[in-house]
């Protein structure tokens, strides 16, 4: 008798727990986030993730989406493509309805194999590689980060507008920096500007004085900084200062990573770099106020990518009116005129003509570094 009573109690408890878990599962919308907390992509992935977390918090405070709270499930892929795919699969197994990838483009590319196979909407809010939506025909994948080609074209338009005729490119020997330099070279050729010298500051070097002396001897109008690696970038700025050089420095969007401002403090005054954030834009101002209130510090552009990304996803789910993945995918694909914190004034995101890369070609800007901060916009778009 006692045994029967115990079995009934156990069955009741199990049933209660299962129904509670079921109810809980229905009460939240699970969104997966792939970030890098320890690897080479931590610099940019973590601030973007912070923006997603803040966005989700704000959306939840306003009542959530379809009456449910957003629950973020965050996984760390260490910016490694194979790990990224494994983490994407884990997120799908955990029941997420959308995956957001914040680490490097190669990792995101690999994670796409999972979103394609499992038919899970997949968005990268900050990745910029042009090939992410072209290498794999994955209708489930969307990119809202500013394409490298758009950023390059914006920087080249600015370079041309300054009347520079002859420039130097300085890079390190990482693969990404090499690729930046190649894009710069092609872009410069395209607008008729001569690349007089290209200098490489190799990883592990102890001085960039010889490199910068060669640049100085070439008597260039400006220097295009295509470096990626922090220590070598620091050597560049140290040597530039030491040699008393005055040539204007133009940087890639890599310089929008705030860590460089701390590492090369007082050395980057007057440097311009391409970005996709104008802090005077009303949406950016609103984001900035919320961010400062929450974290008690000024945001860089990076959290704004995450902030916009999660809002775009939330808007699409709301529009889909359901947690059905296909309906959410269709709603994301139908997004047009989305105006967020990212992008130049007057620009908006949208997946036009069936495209899956949504950044506005006129959305990139060139900004000035002032007082060790990412400062005002000095040029906007490609006109």
């Amino acid at each position: 008798m006692a045994r029967t009573r115990f079995a009934s109690a156990l069955a009741f408890a199990t049933g209660f727990l299962l129904s509670a878990a079921g109810a809980y599962a229905q009460d939240v919308i699970k969104i997966g986030v792939i970030t890098d907390r320890v690897g080479s992509g931590k610099f940019y992935a973590e601030p973007v993730t912070r923006g997603i977390e803040l966005g989700a918090k704000m959306i939840n405070e306003k009542g959530g989406v379809l009456g449910k709270k957003i629950q973020l499930i965050i996984e760390d892929d260490q910016n490694k493509p194979d790990v990224s795919a494994a983490k994407a699969r884990k997120l799908v197994d955990d029941g997420v309805i959308v995956i957001m990838s914040n680490t490097g483009s190669p990792a995101t590319q690999q994670a796409q194999t999972v979103s394609l196979e499992t038919k899970t909407p997949h968005l990268t809010p900050a990745n910029s590689a042009d090939t992410l939506t072209t290498q794999l025909d994955n209708p489930w994948f969307f990119q809202t980060g500013p394409l490298a080609s758009i950023q390059l074209a914006t920087l080249m338009t600015y370079t041309k507008s300054r009347g520079f005729k002859k420039v130097a490119i300085v890079r390190d020997n990482s693969a990404l920096s090499q690729s930046f330099a190649e894009s710069f070279r092609k872009g410069l050729d395209g607008v008729g500007i001569e690349t007089a010298v290209e200098e490489v500051i190799p990883q592990g070097t102890t001085s960039a004085v010889a490199n910068l002396q060669k640049v100085r001897a070439a008597k260039v109008d400006a220097i295009l900084q295509a470096g990626i690696l922090g220590p070598e970038m620091l050597q560049f700025f140290r040597a530039y200062q030491q040699l008393g050089m005055k040539e204007p420095i133009l940087g890639s969007y890599n310089l929008s990573i705030p860590a460089y401002l701390t590492m090369a403090k007082d050395l980057m005054e007057g440097v311009v770099f391409v970005d996709a954030y104008d802090e005077t834009k009303p949406e950016a101002k609103a984001f900035r106020d919320i961010y400062v209130k929450e974290y008690k510090e000024e945001p860089s552009s990076l959290p704004a990518y995450g902030w916009d990304g999660i809002h775009l996803v939330a808007q699409a789910i709301e529009k889909a009116g359901s947690l059905d993945k296909e309906k959410v995918r269709a709603a994301i694909a139908a997004t047009t005129g989305f105006s967020g914190a990212i992008g130049a004034k007057g620009s908006s995101w949208g997946f036009r003509n069936g495209g899956r890369s949504g950044f506005d070609p006129q959305g990139a800007v060139v900004r000035l570094i002032k007082n060790n901060q990412h400062g005002p916009v000095v040029h906007s778009g490609q006109k």
Binding site: T206, S207, Q213, G230, T262, M263
Partner: protein
């Protein structure tokens, strides 16, 4: 000409760093015959310990005097070097392990140090404040950054001290005796264990100091050790493993070849990475004892 003189200061500063790394190898290698590749990670640890003292995570608004950072690096790295000898090298020697065993064990130590640095300080490079800022200083026709002149001054002073230690003190003589013949030195009453422990402590302290001096130029980061270990080893091979002054000479030659080559040779600047390896192979083939012969060969 101005370029050449500017480059001279830059190459001398880099050469001093390579020389310090070579000295760290030499201090361990002479009495123990152990090539310790972990010194690269010790230099990175030195940089982090120093930066920790100067703009520490515990007291973010405190910028301590530089001498405190130097003392902290020498003491902490000395203790770490001593501990590594006691915990890894000595047990292997006591068990009569093959001569390669301590070298392999120290490669394990290298990985432990590197991973510990990322766990403690994270993967982000930490800015390292230079003691006298980073302004351009001109001394006669020579121009360079204040940090470069500081590196040169500290290195030359340290080499003078180490030279005096080896040439003028009983302990230095004990090191040399162990280097010449371990068994005979033991029979003469020299405590081999103590000499070995002191060698590891001294080598770690010198490597740590090199890392601290280098960090304002590159920031303190967990990957800074490997290139310094390669450059220091090359400097050691160039200068010769027998004499303190050889380490400095080797470091200076390597740095001048690297930087003059990068400036004046008509080759892509990325190829300067190959200079240490080319010199290493050249010296191993043509002059394996290095430029300055060890004492027993004189």
């Amino acid at each position: 000409m101005d370029d050449f003189l500017e480059l001279t200061v830059s190459a001398m500063a880099s050469g001093c760093i390579y020389g310090l790394m070579a000295l760290a190898y030499l201090i361990v290698l002479r009495p123990t015959s152990i090539i310790n590749f972990a010194i690269g990670e010790w230099s990175a640890t030195g940089a982090f310990v120093g930066v920790g003292m100067l703009s520490t995570l515990a007291w973010p608004r405190f910028e301590g005097p530089y001498i405190l950072a130097i003392v902290a690096v020498v003491v902490v790295l000395g203790l770490l070097g001593w501990a590594v000898e006691r915990l890894t090298v000595r047990p292997l020697i006591r068990r009569g392990a093959a001569v390669t065993s301590p070298i392999l064990a120290l490669l394990g130590v290298l990985v432990i140090f590197r991973e510990s640095l990322t766990l403690i300080y994270g993967a982000d490079p930490l800015p390292s404040p230079p003691p006298f800022g980073f302004k351009r200083i001109e001394i006669g026709a020579f121009a360079g950054a204040s940090q470069q002149f500081f590196i040169i001054a500290v290195t030359l002073s340290l080499f003078a001290l180490v030279w005096l230690f080896f040439e003028r003190t009983v302990w230095g003589r004990a090191f040399e005796a162990v280097a010449l013949n371990r068994r005979a030195a033991a029979l003469m009453g020299i405590n081999l264990g103590r000499v070995t422990a002191l060698a590891f402590a001294g080598g770690a302290a010198v490597a740590g100091l090199a890392g601290l001096l280098m960090s304002p130029m590159t920031s303190a980061h967990y990957m800074m050790g490997l290139p310094l270990a390669i450059q220091g080893f090359t400097a050691l091979v160039i200068g010769g493993v027998g004499r303190v002054e050889g380490a400095l000479l080797g470091g200076l030659i390597l740095a001048f070849v690297e930087q003059l080559g990068a400036r004046y040779l008509p080759i892509p600047s990325g190829l300067t990475l190959a200079f240490p390896f080319a010199l290493l192979i050249l010296f191993l083939l043509l002059r394996p004892t290095g430029l300055i012969a060890p004492r027993e060969a004189r």
